[in-house]
Structures are given as C-alpha cells and as structure tokens.
Amino acid sequence: MIPFLHTMGIENDLAAHRPYLLRFARLQLRNDTWAEDAVSETLLAALAKPQSFGNRSQLRTWLVGILKHKVIDLLRQRKREVALETDEGDGGEELDALMFKADGHFQSAPAEWGDPQQELSTRQFFQVLEACTEQLPAAMGRVFLMREWLELSSDEICKELALTPTNLYVQLHRARLRLRECLELNWFGNRPAAK
C-alpha cells in the first residue's frame, strides 16, 4: 500500500516528537517499559485521528495532552506497583537534621534566592530541575510529578493510587524539601552573582 503523502508527513512529525515525549514519560513513570507503552499509545492515538489537530505547529502541545491522559491511565492500572513500592530509607530524617537543629531552629538561615524570573525559564535551569526531580526515590518522584506535571489534586492522587492522605503528604513534603536542597546546591547557591 502506498501511503498518502500527508499521512507520511504526520508519521515523520510524530517520530520527531517521540524522544521529547519519552523524556517526560520516563520522568513521571520511572519505568522505561511503562514509559515506552505510554508514548506508543500516545502516537497510536494521534495516528488514529490526525484530523483532530488542525495546526501542525501545535502538534507537540496536542501530543503532550494525549500523553498525560495515557500516563494517568497507566498509573491507575499499575497503582499497586506505584503505591505499594516503599522507598527504602528515603532520607527524610537525614534531611531534617541537615536543615534544623534539635530545638527546631535552622542550622543556617535559608539563603536569599532573589526573584530570578528570567533564569527560571532557561533551558539550563530546566535541565537542573529535571535532574533534581530524577534523583528523588521512584515512588516519591511519581507522586510529586502527579502534582506538578499532571496537575492532579491531592485528593485525586489519593484516589487514583489508593493512598492515605498522611502517606501522600509525607511523600510530597520530603520531595519538596529535597528539591529545594538540590536546587540550592546545584543552581541558586552556585551561580554567578545575580545581575
């Protein structure tokens, strides 16, 4: 069968976006097989109805929207593995001891980061942000990105993964403090003086 030219076009376009989609799927799912599945299903869904996006310049936006739905489906199907996997020694106590004295005061006062709007939108910053997120233990990273990338509410995450609110809040709390620490070390505390 000779494919129509416009069909070939979209296949090439989709292939070009695949690595990008895979990067976010991996970051969210922390499992290469699941990530491959989610991205494949996204591309299949896109191929099944290419007419549902009109403007090719917005292809990626459209694909990311589909991917997010596929990823949520997958997390839902795999919730046992996603939720029951407890992170061995996730370092919550160590981080607390690093930040605070026994009496609840800071070990050292938090630094002034300023309000660096410009640099918060640079590719270099996003790379550091993603690297820090990747360093979170898998289960913690998943629930954190369900909040921050999939934009689910805490209630929705508890429901999807059958987690107790307490369990979820502990994970999110640790994730946020770790990310703060990681960005302090690898970006804010370590950059050339702000202009």
Binding site: F24, T61, A109, A111, Q117, L120, F126, L129, E148, R180
Partner: protein, 67 residues
C-alpha cells in the same frame, strides 16, 4: 499563646504543606505569627514561592512547541 507558637522547623513544614493542601485556620494563624517574628522563615517562604514559579514555568515549557 503557646498553642500558636511554632519553631522554624514546624513553620517550614506548614509552608511546604500548603503547596498541597489547605491548612486549618489555627495553623494559618500560627504561621503568620511566626513569619512576622522570624528573620529566617520569610526567606524560606520566598524560596518556596520561587520553587512554585519554577515548576509552573517548567510545566508550561513541557507543553509548548517552541521548546
């Protein structure tokens, strides 16, 4: 007033928690009192606000064609 007294560690925990859930009014009040009296915690509050903006930017970036 001791029921409203919070350490920096507790105040930080509240500031982190409010990214993901609504705080009860007593905790909101206790946090405001602490922030008004503490030198260090307002900085932590600004850092957490910066983190919030950073993730909003990143989310936007992940959704855009231009990236």
């Amino acid at each position: 007033m001791t029921m409203l007294r919070r350490t920096c560690k507790e105040a930080t925990a509240l500031m982190v928690a409010r990214e993901d859930r609504a705080l009860p009014w007593v905790e909101r009040l206790a946090l405001r009192l602490h922030l008004a009296a503490c030198q260090a915690c307002p900085r932590m509050e600004r850092q957490l606000l910066t983190l919030r903006k950073a993730f909003a930017n990143w989310r936007h970036y992940s959704d855009q064609d231009s990236a």
